[in-house]
Symmetry: C2
Subunit: 283 residues, 2 copies
Amino acid sequence: MLKIGDFSKLGKVSIRMLRHYDQIGILKPAHIDYYTGYRGYSIDQLPRLNRIIFLKEIGFSLSEVMKFLDNHLSVDDMKSMLIKRQKDIENEIIMAQVSLKRVEQRLNSIQSEGESPKYDINIKKTESFAYACHRTIVPHMYQMDFYCFDMYDKIYKELNKINVTPIGPEITMYYNEEYTETNLDVEAGIIIPLSSMQKFMTQESILKTRLIAEEENVAFTVYSGPFDGLERAIIELLTWIEVNDYSINGTIREIHLSGPAHLNDKVVESAIIELQIPISKIK
Amino acid sequence: MLKIGDFSKLGKVSIRMLRHYDQIGILKPAHIDYYTGYRGYSIDQLPRLNRIIFLKEIGFSLSEVMKFLDNHLSVDDMKSMLIKRQKDIENEIIMAQVSLKRVEQRLNSIQSEGESPKYDINIKKTESFAYACHRTIVPHMYQMDFYCFDMYDKIYKELNKINVTPIGPEITMYYNEEYTETNLDVEAGIIIPLSSMQKFMTQESILKTRLIAEEENVAFTVYSGPFDGLERAIIELLTWIEVNDYSINGTIREIHLSGPAHLNDKVVESAIIELQIPISKIK
DNA sequence: TTGCTCCTCACGTCACGTGAGGTGGC
DNA sequence: TTGCTCCTCACGTCACGTGAGGTGGC
């Protein structure tokens, strides 16, 4: 019979761990002294301890380890648990590799800019939404201002007329496949309740309504500053997508988080804008 | 000013998380209503939230994230934190890959044996120890029994004579480079206190004493059963080492955990024996 | 008045590490 | 008697999830 200290040395585990395993019942000492409470382990409990350590090391929780050891478990059950673990580990590795890339990238941007980067680019999923919109071709970028004001003005007036209250911010969609400065295919829209969509049908509104599907993977960044700084942020985002082996999988969107972009006929001088681009991983 | 629910939707985090970030001070709401306690967030807090999420996702703890954000941090400090994280992730990936291999192997052994494997093979480090020993060449395996009895008998008698008490079990070392059945170069020894080593010098004992160095990586398994089943366990262990791209880096050892292997002139019929082989990774 | 949103505790999670305070065996 | 080992609580870890119990605004 071994005392807990000796047994812990044989098994290369802490005394505390053995006490813990006793407590949760995964490895009870072969004998406990009635008066002193001293735990006594027998050497033939060592294989069990080693099996516990092994299963723990490959990532099973102690309750899973218990299932494994209390052999109410068929061989097939063991197999499927191991296969699940295998897939989980494979996933963990992929996630870790992604993290690694993101760290490296952050390091690069610090290296080249000599300071912390201006844009944080993350990935998230987006929900679906309904919006009322107006689409047009803008001949040149520097006219964006005027055209957008015009479109949003129309939308707000129309919404007012048919008595629909927006439930979300302004969203500008860029339909051009490539980055360009001329002939921009732009749609301006405002999020409305799903339930209000039929109003547009029945009243033959000048506005279109569209249902935008949810997206699983959207690269995004939140920009804050004047509107003409937005271009740089878009370029950063596009570069990021390329560097990280993603491909563009939908329409570039600009969401005016800080409210309408135009007040009293002129563009607001400082805004908070979220840029979104749906993406998918290149195989 | 946004209510907590709206802000949590923009940031794709739970309300509870925002409350938590408020509590630990990493992201305090721009305004708190004095009477209701309602938290009010401003949209320009969104970039900070996104940066928190980003740093969290690449594996920093919230206290590390705080350090990052409370910019008492120089660019060099940021760099070194990122580099450390980079190394940590690289390590995590390697560890995960090792786990993966072990899972796959366990799956294989279930597949081929149709049941849970008999031997758990793990890796551990071992401490250094002193031992008194006797070495000899055993002509053929089936004589091991007799030769070992003889050696251990000599050792026990000698220890008794010079009044040294063993502090550890019997250890048998196999010096042959390759697995063989004839001319086994075997050393039998018993662990003794370091302090007793000089006794052997002064009294010119027939026993050698040796100091065995600690080993960083030792593949081991605990076998229990009759002595003649040991061979299979050794073969398993050797196979495992090969399959896992390790190379043997020291002497194979057999440790008699259940006590002396010979009692009253004959070998004990059931024993618990740890097999150890120091290893190193093949590059 | 009824939902919906917000609030503050406070327990639970997981596998132990780390004292505090005390006892048993040589 | 002095170390050394053992014992039992019980708090702390980390980043929230999940109620419980209650309030404010439309």
